[in-house]
Subunit: 279 residues, 4 copies
Amino acid sequence: MEYASDLKLVSRHAKAEDTVVRVGDIAVGGPDPVVMAGPCSVESHQQTLETAERVQRAGAVMLRGGAYKPRTSPYSFQGLGAEGLRILESVRDSTGLPVISEVLDVITFDDVGAAVDVIQIGARSMQNVSLLRRAGASTKPVLLKRWMSATLEEFLFAAEYILAEGNPNVILCERGIRTFNDYTRFTLDLAIVPELKRLSHLPVVVDPSHAAGRRELVLPLARAAIAAGADGILVEVHPEPDEALSDGRQALTFDMFDELMATITHFVPVDRTGSTISA
Amino acid sequence: MEYASDLKLVSRHAKAEDTVVRVGDIAVGGPDPVVMAGPCSVESHQQTLETAERVQRAGAVMLRGGAYKPRTSPYSFQGLGAEGLRILESVRDSTGLPVISEVLDVITFDDVGAAVDVIQIGARSMQNVSLLRRAGASTKPVLLKRWMSATLEEFLFAAEYILAEGNPNVILCERGIRTFNDYTRFTLDLAIVPELKRLSHLPVVVDPSHAAGRRELVLPLARAAIAAGADGILVEVHPEPDEALSDGRQALTFDMFDELMATITHFVPVDRTGSTISA
Amino acid sequence: MEYASDLKLVSRHAKAEDTVVRVGDIAVGGPDPVVMAGPCSVESHQQTLETAERVQRAGAVMLRGGAYKPRTSPYSFQGLGAEGLRILESVRDSTGLPVISEVLDVITFDDVGAAVDVIQIGARSMQNVSLLRRAGASTKPVLLKRWMSATLEEFLFAAEYILAEGNPNVILCERGIRTFNDYTRFTLDLAIVPELKRLSHLPVVVDPSHAAGRRELVLPLARAAIAAGADGILVEVHPEPDEALSDGRQALTFDMFDELMATITHFVPVDRTGSTISA
Amino acid sequence: MEYASDLKLVSRHAKAEDTVVRVGDIAVGGPDPVVMAGPCSVESHQQTLETAERVQRAGAVMLRGGAYKPRTSPYSFQGLGAEGLRILESVRDSTGLPVISEVLDVITFDDVGAAVDVIQIGARSMQNVSLLRRAGASTKPVLLKRWMSATLEEFLFAAEYILAEGNPNVILCERGIRTFNDYTRFTLDLAIVPELKRLSHLPVVVDPSHAAGRRELVLPLARAAIAAGADGILVEVHPEPDEALSDGRQALTFDMFDELMATITHFVPVDRTGSTISA
């Protein structure tokens, strides 16, 4: 497809070589795909530390965990908020793992931005223009998730809002789109990985956990994402998934995560470089 | 369908009789459907006043107009902002028409809230929890648009966030969902009108302009919405649609709006009361 | 939208005036919308006759009933087949109501074609090219249903197959498309009514029963379809819906059908003629 | 998900071990994924033979080619029909490659069935009950494509129709579903591969060509399909894609196919057996 001519900064016309987003000594968009893992929600220091140590041992290089949770129902657990951020900071100090967590609004942006290494803008916020602009004024890397019914162009335009404000460190994340399918929570759209990399220089990662909504499908989808050329994956892991305060159905057990990590490198394209896929 | 048991305040179990949202002496959710019309964007005092006077003469009871516009591209016209609010206030003073306009974030909430009679939360903000909570703490009526891929339950939960904070004056608005259809911008889901009225006591209006994306389809869809039991319609009208700074393709000309108003009352169900449709 | 230039016979470029399909002394596509009603499946002579007499008394002008049923499961009731056709013929003799029934394949085409007044090609057969060609070689009127994920263009091309073989008597029928919606069986796409009538001269009817999948939504959707300019509606009615061998959940009771017929004419556009809606 | 209890023969409850469909000495559903390749349409003996020899040299084990083509427009190339079948037979004789081709209706079923090694039932025919029953009465292996808006359950029920008639040799094929995406022709739903293999014992292959609709996306999607656990892929290849009489946009050039084959085995799960993925 030919994309909107007014897509400027995110396009390969503006920058031919791949953008590599550096988080400490981790390179997102470099030759090696990265694995970011952790619980959907930060529930306690113990749960977060235990998960962080285990995923780190298995090979994860970044810890994910939600402190501010956007929930469908006002009566569902909304996250620990500031306390969750403190837990993430403490666990990073113990493990050395950089942390990524979602920011919900401009009000709490500074608190979240100060606490984390990568700011996540969730799918439901992908077209929250004020939040995109605020993230663009930050110097922290931003992981931008695709809204579950965003077209490829709308997704790139959301990233354009961030770059236009001066922050070039954006990681795009496919997490499934809404379709008529009823056996998964969303439908993972892997074709967007090579297409985004063809049109844009930004790194692209995939979240198979939210797409599948069921842990037994996460492993094959994670393998497929890497095989399709993704620069990394974002996976939910929990010590006791069935006890999780949110999305337990899709969280991997520690053993399943070990199995994933033991096999995932097998699926890295031999000819991989961020842009080899573009035709 | 049986809906989530934790939907509380918005459900007919909590309140059996229809909620009537009063805006000045207008009753949204009462026996007569209401027509809210105006330009997509407030572009100038002249354009706004001219449109307001013309739609008022034709029978519209509320003026719609965007001051803060959420746009896909950062390079598109973003609205006149505060200046647009001043224009809306001035046109209300001249015409006596209450005004409705969209609020994009918590930062500008107070300014927009102080200026308008009905606060619009746009489709893209339907799951912006911070904004929903802020609107719930307000005393102004809120028109909540359905996000283009929200399920019926997600839509009602978004309204629940507002009621849960103490503001009972919520108007639900269907504006089309995203499907594979390629001949309209979105697909208008009219079945949700009777279903929402069956499950909830809140008034339901329909925006055929954004759904169709093309003015020649707005009139039949507006008639269909009223026939399906909608409590009102929200329609875009512009003095010179082809010169509009946004969404001109879907704006009605003054003559088309006159034709709509001349015929719309014909489609009001004879047995209409907010809840007759519920089975 | 500009439609495919190789759409020939179905387009208004080929024929500007509306096509009126005559079935006995009924005119589909004329000034008055027509109501076709009956059970999903012909289950017995008694059930079919009782339903036919009741819907006729209420104002229906054509009897619908399935003899050959396309079912998702091979273990579901597949219809009475030839016996069902005999029942339809007998009930037509008693009531004088023309009958419409679905044909599933070229093998049974002649039997169905000889028995009914209007041949229905179901949604699942909309792109069954052999069946479309066979129907094109027939002299009987054909009601062609839109496949639940057909684009507007694919729908018109399916009709083009029939006209290209020499049969001009095609009635287009919208019956809902597949979307992410989970509170209805399908999503009724009413915008296609005015759009089809703008692009084509063929009459357009709507089936609100299959779209809704729930009887309590059929009445408002039927009203909306007529208000949007449909040339008629196709509605499922059953003496005891909860005892129906197929789709009972969406069948109207006799009393609900009476209510529908008592109010439906109220929604006929005053300025109605098949083509007024085209812009 | 728990699937319909009346899914019988296709389920793992009926047969725990994987079904391996044998085509000559090829095993579909065995330890090694199979690659079926060839032109969308058989256009000439020369084009078909040249393509067959080239894909065979690269490692394909089966030749695909359409003789009877289901086309959206009656004015598009409809395939060479019987002449196309003769070409496929001749090329099989020269190369030894078994051939797979689509059957459109019960009328031509015997001719197609006699000529090919695997009968393909296309997506648009997935719910053509008469055709499914006829295929069930055959002894030839059947490749059943998923209709672009079939739910997982509808897909398995279509296969159930075939098994219920006595033919156990069914290969399921995912080829993309219809969504709002506008940068690909369809959206490839890879999660269905592990889910089908968990619920059913039938082999599952993937057609990345029709899903993508653009050749530059076929290679990454083919790799992803294999990584997700598919038992094989079905790929379109053409000597001169831009001269193809159908779907040239998505056909691989010979060189692209060589690149695909040179790398595809890299993505076969090390722990692969048809059922390892089931949780």
